[in-house]
Symmetry: C2
Subunit: 347 residues, 2 copies
DNA sequence: CGATTTTACGAAAACGTTTTCGATTATGTG
DNA sequence: CACATAATCGAAAACGTTTTCGTAAAATCG
């Protein structure tokens, strides 16, 4: 009933534990004969090394931690999938924790993962996180850390991101190229760098192309569970406030779809009256009517590369090589769909 | 730089390791005085017990494994969230693996988790899984296992499910009560028990209410990534095959929304021409137009209770209590929305 | 055949806890 | 004061592995 150990194999074969261990790991100083004997017995006894002992000896667990603001999220769940897939390839397991966008929770979870002695941590920051002591402490204690998507530029570690600003610029430029003359923006919450960057990209696209930036055209959506409703509400508000807006760049597909729904309800036609570009390329955006132009945000790939960076760092540390932090910026691309398909007047 | 150990505390305080360990765990046979001393020093040194050693000693890792067919899935991601939330409450961490609906992968992952010596495993079966040796082996080797949602009735372990058959019956009955005279069914793949049960519930609702069961009204959707498109295609096919269908019970909300989209495109109005009931209560179904009637499937709660059952089993095993397997059936409820709001003619 | 190198093996320490059980000291009782 | 009891403590084993280093036997060589 009890799990087989090296000791048992050693005793039944009447050799030492050392030799058994070495045989199983193909050390050169054990004969082919005994290797074969040991391996066969191990096989028939279904021997599995006790990871607890291995961890203790080797000081590593082949496990990494992942802290994510929200699991139920189309983008993040794709990231998770990418991370798990890549980790599995390298023999790593991943423990997932959810910060619920709370700084306090995030701090606790970092602590928890550290005390669990994971080999490294992958994190996408909570919106509330403005202090980074917990992250710097972690790294000071020799735990590799890489941040993705929602990052802190100040923290010195590897990162994988998209260029939110550039992507937003492209999205807004696309509205301009589509002939929009007055372009609004539904932005995300004030805190995370991403919504700031997207906002800045929007703004710069405007000014670069001779448009005046008008703060009254920027609406804030607190992208929570109610994203969809916030889209609807902001759309409603926009219609009350302005009658000349003919294009909107929206922080997120779900909010955009909310807005779209509201417009359709009020008889505003998209894209003829108002063109819309979303963000994320959520699968639903290719599915609704009109299909939604958007920025493709490669979640799965982000997960994969985030793990790859972490893996490199773990390896470097083991081999005592110098570790150099890297920031990789993943390509986004504009997906043109019906919601911006108007009379094109490219400049 | 190196982590603090009991030994270091013991040496600086000039007492034994034993006493330090006991002091930290509030054993009765150590004086308040030394307890205070030890605890204070541990605090200032930021002592964290080495989990690897603890695991080895106690033979448990306070970690459970979770195998799920697909992470990027509205229902499953809610289950994941529920599991993580409940596990965290009890001090457990969860390792997530994805089977991609593959039996082979599932088997490997069970093996992997077993060799990682997780304290227990939560699983929702892959569609392809028809053989259960890997699960029975696992349990024979003393690893607690509980299955949820996609289960195997044959395997003797705790389970948490919904009554798919009953829910489907309710959904279909609702169509009948809404005045539908000829009701189709878009079912899921042939294998998993869930789609079989939903199909059976549909069938029984028909026959119980004096409707003839017509196999030609049952369409199969292989609920993969392309669920939405399958919904569209099945809808298209249905319109070609039959012109008298006025109600459909659909295996999944996403497929239902696909069908809905196709109907709208072809000028079939929902619910007037065809009423639709979906399954899952995906948030999108309350958001599209017309809003979709559906069966609410409590993913988050399912995750929580699945962990609770597993936790109980882990505890029982530790205390050598007899373990009794339990199957808990979670309530589903019909959500009536616009897609079935016709001339009600309740019997 | 003696010297040297290879080959094959094992003893033992170490990783950091937890827990049993025995020993020592302090306290209480008559 | 002698003795029993209670209060504190620590030695040591155990969990199962990995790895260093030493040694004995076998093979090689001149």
């Amino acid at each position: 009933m009890k799990p087989v150990t090296l000791k048992q194999i050693a005793e039944t074969l009447d050799i030492s534990i050392t030799t058994v261990s070495k045989a199983l790991k193909d050390y050169p100083d054990v004969s082919k004969k005994t290797k074969k004997l040991v391996k066969e017995l191990a096989e028939t006894l279904n021997y599995k090394p006790n990871v607890f002992a291995v961890n203790l000896r080797t000081k590593e667990s082949k496990t990494i931690g992942l802290i994510i603001p929200e699991v139920v999220h189309h983008f993040f769940s794709n990231v998770i999938k990418g991370i798990i897939a890549q980790a599995e390839k390298k023999g790593y397991l991943v423990i997932i924790l959810q910060s619920n966008e709370s700084y306090e929770l995030e701090k606790k979870q970092i602590d928890l993962l550290f005390s669990k002695r994971v080999d490294g941590i992958l994190i996408s920051l909570a919106n509330g996180t403005g202090d980074f002591k917990h992250l710097n402490d972690l790294m000071a204690q020799d735990t590799p850390l890489v941040m993705f998507d929602k990052i802190a530029k100040i923290v010195n570690c590897s990162k994988v991101i998209i260029n939110d600003r550039k992507a937003a610029y492209t999205a807004t430029k696309h509205l301009i190229d589509s002939g929009c003359k007055r372009i609004a923006h539904f932005r995300g919450p004030l805190l995370p760098q991403n919504s700031i960057d997207r906002f800045l990209g929007y703004k710069q696209a405007l000014t670069d192309n001779g448009f005046a930036y008008d703060p009254s055209l920027v609406y804030i959506c607190d992208c929570s569970d109610q994203s969809f409703d916030e889209g609807k509400n902001s759309a409603k508000q926009l219609l009350e406030d302005h009658d000349d807006v003919d294009g909107i760049f929206i922080n997120t597909d779900l909010v955009a779809i909310g807005a779209l729904t509201e417009f359709q309800k009020q008889g505003i036609s998209v894209p003829e009256d108002i063109a819309i570009v979303g963000f994320s390329n959520w699968f639903m955006s290719s599915v609704i009517s009109p299909t939604l132009s958007t920025i493709d945000q490669p979640g799965f790939k982000m997960g994969k590369t985030a793990f790859k960076l972490l893996y490199k760092e773990i390896k470097s540390r083991k081999e005592n090589l110098p570790i150099k932090f890297k920031t990789v910026e993943l390509e986004t691309k504009l997906i043109e769909r019906e919601s911006t398909r108007r009379f094109h007047q490219k400049v």
